[in-house]
Every structure is written in C-alpha cells, then in structure tokens.
Point group: C2
Chain length 656, copies 2
C-alpha cells in the first residue's frame, strides 16, 4: 500500500505535503468526494484551489488526506493573507504577486521564498475560508445543516466528520532547529528568527519575551542575593531594593515594547493589518457587509454575547471565587495546626512540617486552576455540541486570568494585610513560588514528553521497525504526529510568566530572593518549553502577531499594583515603624506620599519613553506616506477613466 | 490714486486679494522687485506662482502688496498642503487636482469650493516655502545673508524688511458670521462650521471645546448651588459632590475626545497627515533629507536645543518660581494683617478688607504671569535679533504652563495642606477665581476692543469720511486692519480654561460654587472671545488641527491631581474626623483606600470608553484599507514597467 504513495512521490514531485486533514473513520464516500472537490476546485467556483492527496495507511483505510499547493497558489495566498516581506531595498512591504520581483530572495524557482510555516498558515487560511454556497447540508449527513457563507471546515469539525487539521513537521528543519535551540550547551540568545520561521511569530515572540524577561530579572536577582546571604533587615536597604524594583519593572516593560517593535518590524508583522482580515472563519453569525472592506462576511451579534457573559459566566466565576476563598481558609487552619505541632514537639521533622501546608496549598491551587479552566471551556462550548479548539475565548481568558490571579495571590494578600505576619508571608511566598514552578514544568513539559516517548516506542514496536526518527516514512511520521497533543497557544505560558512576575514584584521587599528563583526557573523553562514545542506537541499553525497583546497591559497593571503593595509592606515593617515612634499618622502620610511619588514617576517614565525606536517610527511613517501617495495616484488613474467616460456628457452639460 | 486699484478691479476681476504683505517704508526698489518676482515666478523656477498687486495708498507710498492666486493655482496648492475634503460619496478624502471631479460641490467655475480661509492658508504655506536658491544675500541689503534652502520670508521678517503678512477680512462674510455667532440674542450652539470656514479649525475647535466644557460644567454647577443656598456642611454630601465631580470630569474628558473626532472628521483634519508636512518654514537649520518623505528640507539640531533649555530656561524658571513663592509669603502676611485689623475693629468695612489681600494677590499673579511670559519670549528670541512671531515655542509653553499652574495654585495648596484653614481656602479660592476671570475678560477682549474702536474712529476722522464698515474702500480696510493687534493662537485661551478647571476641580469639595462662576464666566467668555476674534484682532491664518493636542493631557492630569487633593480635603474635614474619633490612623487608611479606588475607576473608565465613536473608527479603517489596496495597485503598475524592462535580461538568466 505504501507504494501508492511513493508512486505519487516520484511522479508528482512538485506536490509537497504541508497540512494533514484527518477525517473520522468510516466517513461516507460522497462526503469525502464533495470536501476534496471543494478543496481542489477553482477559486472562481468557490474552491480553495489547493492540492489534495489521500494517504493510504497499511490498513487500507483512506481517512487521512494531505493538502499542498502549487508554488504559484501559495504566492497568491500570501497576497490574500497580507504577508509582509522584505524588499530588495531593505524596506518591509506587503507582498503582492504582481510586485513579487521587488522582494528579496524572490525567484520564480526559489520555493523557499515563503517559509514552510507561512505556507501552512496560508493553507489553513484558505481551508478555513471555504464557505458554504448553495449546499443546504453536508452531503451524506442530512442532519449537519449548512448556511450560506458559513465555514465548511468548522461545520465538519463540529459535526465530528473532520477530526483535526494540523501542519506537518519538517523533520530536517526541526532537527536543525532543535540543535541550534537547545541541542548544544551554549551561552547566548535563542535562535528567534529560526523559531519564527518554523513555528511562526506568536510562538517566537513568546520565547523572545521569555528570554528578555529572564535577562531583565537578572539585576533584581543579583541585588536580591546579598539580602539573603547577609540576612539584611535594615529598612533602608529594603526601601532601596523595593524602589529599584518598582522603577526597574517600569523600565523593562517600556523597553520591551521597543524591542518588540524592532523584532516584529523585521518579521513584517508590525506592518500586517489584522483589522482588515476576514473574521475568524470558525465564527457563528449571519452574513453581513464588513463596513471596512465592503466584503460580505459573517457578522457578529454583540448583545447575545453580553447576555451570555452576565447570565452564565459571572455567577460561575463568583462561585469559583467563593470556593477558592474557602480552600484558602482551610489552608490557614492547616498552617495553624502545623505551627502548633511545631511548637509542641520541636524537631527537624516538625520544622519541615511547617512547609507542608503551603506545598499542599500550592498543589491545590494548581489543580483548582485547571478545574476552573475545564469548567470554563465546558461552559463556553455548552450548547454548541462540540468544541472546535480547546482554547478559551477572549472573555473567558480575562476571567481565567483574574481567577488565577486571585487564586494565587489571595492568600498572600490575606497574610500580608490582614494577618500582618511577615515571616509567614515570606515562607508562604517562597513555597508557593517554588512549588508552582516545579509543578508547572512537570505538568507542562516533562510529563507529556515522557508520555509521548512511551507512545512513540509502542507505535514503533507495533510497526515492527526500529528506525530512527529521520528514517521514518511519511506514513509513519503522520501516524506518530496525529496522536501528539495539541498546543493551544501561548496563553498558558504567558500566564505562568505573569504569575511569576506577581510573585517577584508584589512582595519584592519581603522576599528579594524570589527574583533568583524566577531567573533559575526561566532558564530551565526556556529549555522545557522548547522541548515541549519540538517534541511533545503537534506542530502548531503559525500565527502572525505584532506584540504580546493584552499581556503588556496585564504586566503593567501588575507593576502598578506592586507599587501599592510594596509601599504598604515597607510602611508596616517594624524598622520603619521605629522611625516614627510618636505618631503612626506621620508614618502613614509619609508612606502615602512616597507611593504617590513613585506612581507619578512611573507614569512620567512610561510617557517619556517612546514605544517604538526612532528608526522604526520613521520607517512606519515612510510606509504610510508612500501608501497615501499611492492612494492619490490611484485616484488619479480612476479620474482619468472617469473623465474619459464623462467628457461627452459633461461637454453636453457645459453647452446647456 | 484709488483709481489705480479700481482699474485693476475692473480689468482683472479674477484677481481676488487674499493676503496682505506689508514691507517696511522705504524698502529699496531692487528688493521689492526681487521679492515680487519670486512670488510671481513659476514653481519650476523656485517661485510661488502667485499673483501680486501693489496697493497704492493716498500718500503714494508703495509698501503694501496684495497677494492672490488663480483658481487653478489654489487647487494645486490645496493638494500640496494635503487638504481633506468631502467626496460625492460622503467620504472624506485627501484632495488632489486630478481627482477633483469626485469631490462634492466641485465645479471648474465654482470658486467657493475652497473656503477663503483655506485659500489664505494655502497662500501662506506657499509664501513661507519660498526658499533661497543661489542668492547669497537679500538684494539691496548685503548684510542680510541668505543660505540655500532657508525661507526667504523668514529672513525678510528677521531683517525688518517685511513688517507683516496677514490675511484679509471678508467684510461680507464677517458680518454674516458676527450675526449668527453673537449678533442676536439666542439660545443654542455656536455656528462652529461657519467659524471654521472663516477662522480655520484650530480656532473653531477652541470655541467648540469652550462650548462643550461650559455645557459639561452645568451639572456640577447645578449640584453645587444647593450646597451654597442651604449651607450644607454634612460630610456625606461633600463626599458625594466630590465623587460625582471626579467621575464626571473623567467622563467629560473622554467624551470630548469622541466629539472632537466627530467634528474634525467632518472638517477633514482628522485625516490630514501633519507629520509629513515640511518643517515650519521659519526654521533655523541646515538642509538635510527628511527620512520620511525623502525630500530635502532643513533639519533640526536637537542637542543644541536641549543645551539651551538646561542652561538658560531652567535657571530662569527656578528664579521665577522663587520670586513667585516670595510674593505668596507677602500675601500671607497681608492676609494676617487684614485678619488682625478685622478682629481689632470689626465693621462692614473691615470684613470687606478681608478680601483685599486676595484681590491684590490675584492681580499680582496675573501681572507676574504676563511678566514671566514676556521674559520667556525675550529669552527665546535672545540671540536671534528679531522675533518673528511672538508665540512661545513648545518648550517654553510647557514651562509657562507649569509656572502658571504653580503661580495660581501654590497659595491654595499652601492654605489647604499646610495651614489647614478651610475657611481661608474657600475665601481665597473664590476671590482668586472671580478676580482672575474679571481681569482676563477685561485684559483680553474689552480693553483691546475699546482701544481698537478709538483707533478706528481716529483713522476715519483722518480719512475725513464717515462711512460705515461695509462702505470702506479696500485701501481703507487694509489701513485699518494692518494696525490691528495680532492674535497669537489659542494657547492663552486654553490656559485660561485649564486654570479655571483647576479652580473648579482641585478643591471642588470645599467650594462647590466654583462651577457656577465658571459657567457664568464661560458664557460671557464665548461672547468676548468672539468679539475679540471678529473685531479686535487681525484675521489670523487658518491652522488645520485634529485635536486640542497637549491640552487633553493637561486636563486629564489635572483631573488625576484633583482626585488626590479632594480625597485629602475630605479626610481633613472635621465631619469626617468625627467619624473616626478613636484613631486617626483608620481615617487616613480609609481615605487612602477611597482615593486608590477612585483612581482605579478613573483609569478603567478612560480605558473602557473608546476615544473615537465606532462609525468614525470604521471610516478611518476603511480609508486605511483603501490606501493599502492602492499601494498594492501602484506596486502592480510599477512591476509591470519593471517586468517589461527586465524580461530580456531575466530571460537570458533563465537560459543559463
């Protein structure tokens, strides 16, 4: 059976499989025929004009299809998705097929002009934009209704006919990438450009941010170490450390915006216009006219969404919060119990026991976060039968973020500002931070890696061949990859960093060592995340992005909150209290004054530091200038034609 | 002599005088010839291609020239300055001559397509862009050196040869505008679109803001009245008033952004690209390449400017501040003296005497502000021989703003937060507010109006004719107008509103009646400013603008500061203190908590309310979309030509 494939390989060598489409086993023939015809059909007929080949497995089943596209088709698709590439004059421009010759490294026979990730992104975009025309239902499945303009792929997924669509790994490229990324022991930066070529901008930008953030934490960590080593307890040193931290965190967030602009300008995504894209094809809604592009596409009912949020999501979030606070109270009881135990029978064992409640609590928090997440996903998909992608929608993401924040920090806030127990705060903070880091690394990367490895071995045994990775046939590769887990985007990874930033900055003056642990964790995080991307998950589709989006705001908000918490903490410290022996009032007023000054400095700094470096600003302005000039030019051409047509009429008018 | 003009009037009726150029008396003939030749000369020869006519006065002097332009020249100029006009399909587009037919109300014989203000703006732009070519000096004045690329008009102004350039009033239009603006008693909005047509966008937007701000203050004033009438002193009512004020001020500032976007979209200035304009032609600097447009133009030395700021301006500002604080101390001495006097011999007279120090102080503040301003102007122009325009440069404006702020509010802050004297604060606030308002209205509008009227009468007497305004000949009109004062932009008007906003919001919980006075003042302010614009000053050149610029930020900052001051004031009130009889600490903590909550609400509101209404957002996105599509189109055309030229070479390449 494998011959049928190698036959294709030899005789149609221009077909390069890029994306795998897995249908349910036993899908009706007419459905398959209709679907593949739509994929192959001409654009003019409402097709995607791509190439499709069946993959015949050893069992003779025909439920996996490989999708590719001709070089020309991919170039036209690059224009459709609005890809931005570098021109011969070093400027970045939106790619168009007609202007292809002006782009760097373009040649009609250079099939590497578009990276594989870009090709796969284009194919995904084209597949998802296959829309129902006059079909009333999916052929062969009368119960699966179709409405004009709705995404076919989405409907196939929700009705369970389509199992998944995923891009293929390029084993050669992946091996190279693995080697330069984490394959050798080295000191230096990650190969961000290579990561971007292989996994797309969103993931590369995450790794860029992770790396930047780690470097940015190093000064905090370095300054934090002596506080631990010499057990400094002077208030002035703590004030200095906290002040440095607060200003530093503002600077690093502002500088990141600049670095992000530089990097995404180089990648072309800073110039990509996302607002003109058609709405997510996986989208429920009736057809309407997009007010911007004037194209017909599904529009969005905002009121319906609002109602769902307020009637379903809000009560659910409140319930979860209540539960989370209840667990926190149990934790405090446990903590008290451990303390009593330690006081009664003091020993090495009992002092270790002091950490047990925090560790248990940290584990419970992680579990609760996951339960909340699955429940939220269930609620989102509730009434929609099947979940297309397990990633949360935007609103749920906000709720999830807030829930995580409260879940992780509620106990710390309670200890700090209700119990006023700095010793317990330090101990709890340290235990929570370290436990959650270890748990995360384990749950996110190492466990799936181990599972994946075991599965691979079993697969290979079943295929009764003991080849190495690179010797696998395409069939074997696809069979391995389709069983791999799906990577649901960078949300969880950013969330982890966000919570870590909270641990480091919110109580930085109580536990300066937090930054050290954060740096250590992030160094291993880079490697475990890289491992996760390369070995554990299916290759994700590339997603162009120009910035880290809402996370920038989230980190900035956290840094504002941390100004407030740190000022209060310092104000509460006995050393500072000793400075104001007579009047608590003066103390509080001083603290409030310092806090306002710090906040003012923060805002002025954020205002003064430009978000984009000057040369990027100039390049963007230049492009805008050109595009305005071009608009004038086009109106000019338009006018010529208008004038030519009108001249007779207007001539007549004038004579009247 | 007047016949020579009427001769022109009859035989060259297409020449419409728009701008007046006044040269110094006794300017050498060759200079005049050279300058008028440059104005009339073809664009290709480095001229402005405008029309010039000498105005021969009754004394036979020839030092005033009228500048006009042909209809076609103005349309081409409109394209150069990037004017945005409404198209036939109701969208706003950048005007180009080639696409002129697509614009609403365009007809080749409709000379009202461009408003007079727009025509004058175009002529001003063209005159200021007359640049020296190979001339080494101004002909006839060997000491007035010229450098290639430097503005000729600027050089003529600095060397005193050119006295002034100003646009002519249109007496018919002005009469109409006056009538609909303030000529009849009416309740309603100002004719903003007419103001914009006559005076340009910057001035119209100021009046729009003044009107909006007055309306926005009405709710505050209405709520404030009962506090005064019933002498409410309950803390909860004050808290309510202050809270309402703080949130209201956030709302009005956010809503203004939206209204501003709507208005300037209609005027076309929201779409006008200011960053691509050539630098202010009055600009010192060497020639360089503009990185955005790629055109050769004078560039700017930033370091030189920085040094000047730090070495000259900063010490000067510090000195002024010191002086201002010194005066404040004298005021407090006076205040104390008045209080002592009142206590010693209590009478009606002595209680009136209590207000005298505040009134004197208010007058002194106004005088100091003006002295500071003239000194700052002197410093700016120092080493530059002659001041071209008396308006301050940007940096000095910032300093001036801060100086005004401190000058006006330092004493109030001192009374509130050092002396803790709420009664004095209220009295001082009221006196300062009312005195400064009266002084401003008098000094800004009424005094100049009276002077202007007197001058006009004398002029008319001298011309020994007692005609009404509309019967004046052009010569007489110009002779009247050239003696009028020059309007130096909206800075002072905005500053007045800004300080008023400070009086209203910073201490709103102490003196709720401030808003009432502000509303009353603003209603008369609209009329006196309108009078000022129409009767007192020369017509100013129109200046396109899309928003109120830095004032938005200034008002927002003021509203943040007012949250802090009001929370402190409420916290200090005896009523609130009585609520926390046992612990001052609890009081302060509560106040701090409330303050943080209010600030958080403010920022969330500012974040949640979109800056532009949805339909404007869509229109802007649409335009951007079109301009990107146009860019693609242009690259396409470019490529065609490239491909045609390259086909032979590339064909050869392929064969190899």
């Amino acid at each position: 059976m494998a011959e049928s494939w190698s036959f294709l390989d030899t005789f149609e060598s221009n077909f390069r499989p890029l994306v795998v489409v897995e249908l349910a086993k036993g899908t009706k023939k007419e459905t398959i025929e209709w679907f593949t015809k739509r994929i192959v059909d001409k654009k003019a007929n409402g097709g995607a004009q791509l190439l499709v080949k069946p993959l015949v497995t050893e069992k003779g089943e025909e439920n996996i299809y490989l999708v590719g596209a001709s070089h020309l088709r991919l170039l036209l698709g690059a224009e459709t998705v609005g890809l931005v590439k570098e021109c011969n004059d070093n400027s970045m421009r939106t790619f168009t097929y007609s202007s292809r010759k002006t782009f760097r490294d373009f040649a009609d026979d250079n099939h590497n002009f578009l990276t594989m990730a870009e090709c796969q992104y284009i194919i995904k975009h084209e597949l998802e934009n296959l829309r129902a025309k006059d079909e009333k239902m999916i052929p062969g499945y009368p119960q699966a209704k179709l409405y004009p303009g709705k995404s076919i792929v989405r409907r196939l997924l929700t009705s369970g006919i389509l199992v998944q669509i995923f891009p293929l790994h390029d084993r050669e490229e992946l091996k190279k990438l693995r080697h330069s990324w984490y394959g050798r022991v080295k000191v230096g930066y990650q190969p961000l450009d290579e990561i971007r070529c292989y996994f797309g901008e969103t993931i590369a930008l995450y790794f860029g941010f992770l790396e930047y953030f780690t470097f940015a934490l190093v000064p905090m960590a370095v300054i934090g170490i002596p506080y631990y080593v010499f057990a400094w307890e002077d208030y002035d040193k703590y004030v200095m450390f906290a002040t440095f931290n607060l200003l530093w965190s503002t600077v690093i967030l502002e500088v990141w915006k600049r670095i992000c602009a530089i990097v995404t300008y180089r990648w072309g995504t800073l110039l990509m216009k996302r607002q003109f894209e058609e709405p997510r094809p996986g989208f429920h809604g009736v057809l309407g006219i997009n007010p911007v592009t004037g194209r017909e596409e599904p529009v969005y009912s905002s009121i319906k969404r609002q109602i769902r949020i307020y009637l379903v999501s809000l009560p659910f979030v409140c319930l979860c919060l209540y539960f989370s606070l209840y667990v926190m109270m149990i934790y405090f009881d446990l903590e008290q119990w451990a303390l009593d135990y330690h006081e009664e029978n003091e020993s090495n064992f009992s002092s270790l026991m002091l950490f047990v409640p925090s560790i248990i609590y940290a584990v419970v928090i992680e579990i609760m976060n996951r339960i909340y997440r699955y429940a939220a996903e269930f609620l989102t998909s509730w009434g929609k039968k099947v979940v297309y992608s397990s990633s949360l929608n935007t609103n749920n993401k906000y709720f999830y973020l807030q829930f995580n924040f409260l879940n992780c920090f509620a106990s710390l806030f309670y200890i700090a500002f209700v119990l006023f127990d700095m010793k317990l705060l330090r101990q709890s903070l340290a235990t929570l931070l370290i436990t959650s880091q270890i748990l995360n690394q384990f749950a996110e990367s190492l466990l799936p890696y181990w599972l994946q490895k075991r599965h691979k071995k079993r697969m290979k045994k079943r295929m009764s061949s003991l080849k190495t990775d690179t010797d696998l046939t395409l069939v074997e590769q696809i069979n391995l990859e389709k069983e791999m887990g799906t990577y649901f985007g960078t949300f969880d990874d950013y969330l982890e960093l966000f919570l870590q930033f909270g641990y480091v900055s919110l109580f930085s003056c109580v536990y300066p060592l937090a930054a050290v642990f954060a740096v250590l964790n992030n160094i291993t995080e880079i490697y475990s995340d890289a491992l996760k991307m390369c070995r554990v998950y299916k290759r994700p589709f590339a997603e162009p992005t120009a910035n880290i989006g809402v996370w920038q705001l989230a980190f900035e908000t956290m840094s504002v909150i941390s100004v407030v918490t740190n000022c209060i903490l310092i104000g509460m410290s006995p050393q500072v209290n000793a400075l104001f022996p007579d009047s608590k009032m003066d103390l509080i007023l001083t603290v409030a004054l310092v806090e306002h000054l710090l906040l003012a400095i923060k805002f002025i700094m954020a205002f003064v530091i430009p978000d984009k470096p000057r040369d990027i600003q100039i390049k963007l302005a230049k492009l805008e200038f050109e595009s305005l000039e071009a608009l004038k030019q086009q109106i000019f051409l338009l006018t010529i034609s208008v004038l030519t047509n009108d001249s007779i009429e207007s001539g007549g008018d004038h004579k009247r």
